[in-house]
């Protein structure tokens, strides 16, 4: 299109930080042009720490812009992230909720296989349903990530406001699967701020014309940076198709 173009804003620091029961990982980079990006400018030489209880640990830069630390991090604790890049100081806090596990998972051939004569190369349509019992006493926030043969297949973030304390069919997956396909369904328990980040992120990428104006996702970072920091616990089910 020649009668439309987007401009390029000044580059900003980007923080992608997570903490799981076994690892803390922080990736630091900068924004790039929307249409014609340069290669991602990663930020080296930052000082990155995580604090919990009375402990402060420092993350090591494994490769340019990638900082990590492998150790046990307990759930039901608050974790504080601090990043110093030159004069910039960025902080964030996140709570690691207790792990909510999948109850059960069912797999069946779909009745939609009979609709058309789909080519065999696609495989068959299966319906994969996974259930969870939501803890009644707390507000819970979930992030589901589905991988098919180690490639991200779908992801979704939800809270329990519609089903607090109920047993629900939380994952409803339908698609073509073949013999030896492996589907992994992860259930991450996250805190409210992480939920809000992903919830607002889903809207921010809709470049569609008629819906409400998109905006930057809601971040829990303090300081002049984009991105997020969240702690999570995780459970998974693995389905191998025969």
């Amino acid at each position: 299109m020649d009668d439309f173009e987007v401009g390029s804003a000044e580059a900003k620091i980007v923080v992608a930080a997570t903490i799981s029961p076994t690892q803390a990982q922080v990736i630091l980079s900068k924004t790039t042009a929307y249409l014609n990006p340069t290669s991602i400018p990663y930020i080296s030489g930052a000082h990155v720490t995580i604090a919990y209880d009375d402990t402060i640990v420092t993350l090591h830069e494994d490769s340019v812009g990638y900082y990590s630390l492998e150790q046990q991090f307990e759930s039901q604790k608050m974790y504080s992230l601090s990043i110093t890049i030159g004069d910039n100081f960025i902080t964030a806090e996140s709570y690691m909720p207790p792990c909510v596990r999948w109850d059960s998972c069912s797999v069946k051939l779909s009745e939609y296989n009979s609709w058309y004569e789909f080519p065999d190369s696609l495989g068959k349509i299966y319906e994969v349903l996974a259930y969870v019992t939501d803890p009644v006493e707390s507000a819970n926030y979930y992030r589901k990530e589905v991988y098919k043969n180690d490639t991200i297949y779908s992801k979704e973030t939800t809270d329990d406001s519609y089903f607090n304390g109920q047993t629900v069919q939380l994952e409803t997956l339908m698609g073509f699967f073949k013999e030896d396909d492996i589907v992994k369904i992860y259930l991450k328990s996250i805190d409210k701020q992480a939920f809000e980040y992903y919830n607002t992120l889903a809207l921010s990428n809709s470049s569609s014309g008629m819906f409400a104006a998109p905006d930057n996702p809601k971040s829990n970072l303090q300081g002049d940076a984009l991105g997020r920091f969240y702690a999570y616990t995780v459970d998974s089910v693995i389905v191998r198709f025969k």
Partner: protein
């Protein structure tokens, strides 16, 4: 209270009439059908004294003893001049014959030619149904709302759609009345077509600036549409077969000269073709809408008239047995008009309006059903008094609204999700006078006292900054939750410079107690209405407007220039990430702010001759300011189109052959697009710096049409109508998205536009008998 007494006092003073006045009154009818002519002009030749016939065709003029020449005129009809000697009250009924010249069909208004100059109306626009039938439109489906979009100050809500914005107001700020019944969703097929069937309705009038205190309830405009009355003398009908739909209308007397009926229906038939599809699974797919308008009138005696009218329409979309959407409006209006005297009349109306929408999904792994709706009952009284220099409206209404925002039943959940129903009572009283002070000064002033009450049973919540419920209040059934009184003063002044020009100024305050929760700019089944609550205050608007009106060559050319400034308070928007869908706690995510709109509207119209039409241009700016959006800075609304230009041209080659063309141009919508991107979780995230800081490419389009009327056979007349939408196939951008330039470098993107409608020809065959 002091103010109300003052205004009532002022009204009463104005009402006092001098002695030795007599009245000339009567009705004006179509000589052929006996139909009352509404808005016909009755003028005493050589003076400005005169009147327009009301909705019952009746007029009344006060004069002193003497002999007079009265001129009865109505566009499309031969003007009649009658000599009358007045020594007592005189009753004079007049029948006007339709003008032989077919060209008069191409007029834009049906009121007196110099109405624009002499009335106090500022920012009022009349769309004649004849024009609606000639102006070329998408798929050849005539649509009063689409013709309206060609007027100054009115902007289309989207390509091909029937939604509109008036002077910077939202699409939910337009009151659309069909025989006094509010239409909550005036569109079919998610906004593509309006609910108005051109066969069933009369002229439509839009008030975007000054308005009588009789009107209220919406912030930005009132569109008043009446269903036509059936012919009381002869049976006849009309209809047509078009590209999208077919229509049929029939009308006639029930008791000759006394009572009549009119029934008009439409149905689209895309799905009828699906039944012919080879794939039998498509046979159960449905995609259509239908609507029916009806009106029954009965003249009980000279002073009393009863009517019952209404609308029933429904959209049905069903894909196999898997997914379905349905929705529609039902309205009914019962009204009784009683003439107490030559000066007083009273119209009592009982109105019912219902709108619902329903979504259904049935699949093996999940089924779901979503319902929402709104019901309104309204009782309205409008007393009208007129004498030589005043037309006074005094009245009021009581309305009960019931909002059902949504209910979702699904197999995935043990219990359905139900959003609590809301009840509300609206009570309004008003007084309004249109007063001729002297030959050069006319004023219209009024006051509307609107009252809103939210009623239980209901539970309301208080939220903290984190959107968490911190407190709740439970209201019992019938208990008053909140009460919002509002005074809405209206003032309009017409200073007549000479016979062909005037200057007008107006101040209008309006108030709105309902809020549309809408996730996009098109009408969706998930949209719903909610009433004002303790947290969500009624919307208010103050508007100032000023206009210069000038006609040329004995009113055959009309021109006007208007400027306006509008300030709207208690506007709502949503916090980033607000879930609008079945969210009982949505109020926690609502943001409150204000908006302003100002602009210049220029309009020039040619009324008579073989060549008729108009040019309209609007230069305007509409902005919003919300704490928490765009860093609290003003930002343009999406439909802030700086320049908006339309040309409508109609040419009659002969009595049988007419051609028409329209051209529209507008600045592109203000939209939000990223100014950078960054990587998180292995995926790019867009980086936004400014709300609605970018512009879509400019929009322009030309449509043309030709109608050819075949020779009449007996009473039967038919007409072919050809039209081409987007004749030079302009690829207007409906949406812009980004995609990789090539597969090897997926990070490098290019902007790609989606065009909704290319060049689209259509054909229709219409008939009447």
């Amino acid at each position: 209270m002091k103010h109300i007494l003052f205004i009532l006092n002022f009204l009463l003073v104005s009402l006092s009439i001098s002695a030795q006045q007599f009245t000339i009154s009567g009705v004006v009818k179509d000589a052929n059908s006996g139909e009352f002519l509404v808005g016909a002009s009755v003028t005493i030749v050589g003076t400005t004294n005169g009147a327009f016939t009301n909705t019952s065709g009746a007029y009344s003029i006060s004069v002193k003893q003497g002999s007079y020449k009265l001129e009865y005129s109505y566009l499309g009809y031969e003007t009649a001049v009658v000599d009358i000697v007045v020594s007592a009250n005189v009753k004079k009924n007049v029948r006007l014959t339709q003008a032989a010249m077919k060209i008069d069909k191409v007029v834009v208004t049906s009121v007196a030619r110099d109405h624009n100059v002499i009335s106090t109306e500022l920012g009022a626009q009349t769309v004649s149904i004849q024009t609606v039938k000639i102006v070329p439109v998408l798929f050849g489906e005539n649509d009063v709302l689409k013709t309206l979009q060609l007027m100054p100050g009115v902007k289309s809500a989207g390509e091909g759609g029937s939604g509109y914005y008036v002077r910077g107001g939202g699409s939910d700020q337009n009151l659309i009345l069909l025989d006094d019944a509010p239409i909550y969703n005036a569109s079919h097929m998610m906004g593509m077509f309006s609910v108005f069937n051109s066969d069933a309705i009369g002229d439509a009038k839009l008030y975007k600036g000054s308005m009588s205190a009789e009107y209220g309830g919406r912030l930005s405009s009132v569109l008043d549409v009446d269903i036509r009355e059936g012919d009381k003398e002869n049976y006849h009908g009309q209809g047509g077969i078009g590209t999208i739909s077919s229509r049929f209308e029939v009308e006639g007397p029930i008791r000759k000269g006394k009572s009549s009926f009119l029934v008009a229906g439409r149905r689209t038939y895309a799905d009828i073709f699906l039944k012919m599809a080879r794939d039998t699974s498509l046979h159960s797919t449905k995609l259509h809408f239908f609507d029916v308008n009806y009106k029954f009138v009965n003249d009980i005696d000279e002073n009393d008239k009863l009517s019952l009218s209404g609308y029933i329409g429904r959209d049905v979309f069903k894909f196999r047995d898997m997914f379905g959407m349905a929705g529609g409006n039902i309205t009914a209006t019962g009204s009784w008009l009683h003439l107490f005297s030559k000066q007083w009349k009273l119209q009592s109306s009982f109105v019912y309006s219902y709108f619902d929408s329903d979504m259904d999904m049935q699949m093996s792994m999940l089924d779901a059903n979503l319902q929402s709706g709104i019901t309104e009952f309204n009782w309205k009284e409008d007393a009208v008094y007129r004498n030589e220099n005043n037309i006074v409206h005094i009245g009021g209404n009581v309305g009960y609204h019931r909002f059902s925002p949504g209910k979702l039943t699904t197999s995935m959940l043990e219990q359905p999700i139900i959003m609590e129903k809301r009840n509300a009572l609206e009570m309004n009283v008003y007084a309004d006078n249109s007063q001729t002070i002297n030959d050069w000064l006319k004023v219209q002033y009024g006051l509307r006292f609107s009252n809103f009450m939210g009623l239980g049973a209901a539970t309301f919540y208080d939220y903290n900054q984190e959107h968490e419920i911190i407190d709740s209040t439970i209201y019992k059934k019938g208990e008053v939750i909140n009460y919002y009184p509002n005074l809405e003063p209206r003032l309009s002044v017409n200073y007549r410079i000479n016979a062909e020009s005037s200057i007008k100024a107006a101040y209008t305050r309006t108030c709105q107690f309902v809020h549309l929760i809408q996730s996009s700019t098109v009408s969706m089944p998930t949209d719903y209405w909610m009433p004002s609550t303790n947290k969500t205050k009624p919307q208010t608007c103050s508007q100032l407007s000023l206009g210069y009106f000038r006609n040329f060559k004995e009113n055959s050319y009309e021109t006007s220039a208007e400027i306006y400034y509008k300030n709207m308070q208690n506007q709502i928007d949503y916090e980033n990430g607000a879930n609008l869908f079945l969210n009982s706690n949505l109020e926690a995510y609502l943001l409150y702010g204000h908006s302003r709109s100002y602009g210049v509207e220029l309009y020039a119209k040619k009324n008579v001759g073989n060549f008729t039409g108009w040019v309209s241009y609007t230069l305007s700016k509409t902005e919003k300011q919300f704490e928490g959006l765009n860093s609290g800075k003003w930002y343009p609304v999406r439909y802030d189109r700086t320049h908006d230009f339309s040309i409508v041209a109609m040419y009659a080659f002969s009595e049988r052959l007419q051609a028409s063309a329209t051209w529209v141009y507008s600045t592109g919508d203000a939209v939000t697009y990223p100014s950078g991107k960054y990587l998180v979780d292995g995926e790019y995230v867009s980086y936004y710096t400014e709300r609605n800081g970018y512009r879509m490419p400019a929009y322009h389009r030309m449509d043309v049409g030709v109608t050819y009327t075949q020779e009449k056979k007996g009473r039967f007349e038919s007409q072919w109508s050809f039209s081409v939408y987007n004749v030079y196939n302009r690829k207007n951008a409906y949406m812009i998205y980004f995609e990789p330039v090539d597969e090897e470098t997926p990070d490098v993107l290019q902007a790609v536009k989606i065009t909704l409608f290319p060049i689209i020809p259509s054909i229709a065959w219409n008939f009447s008998f």
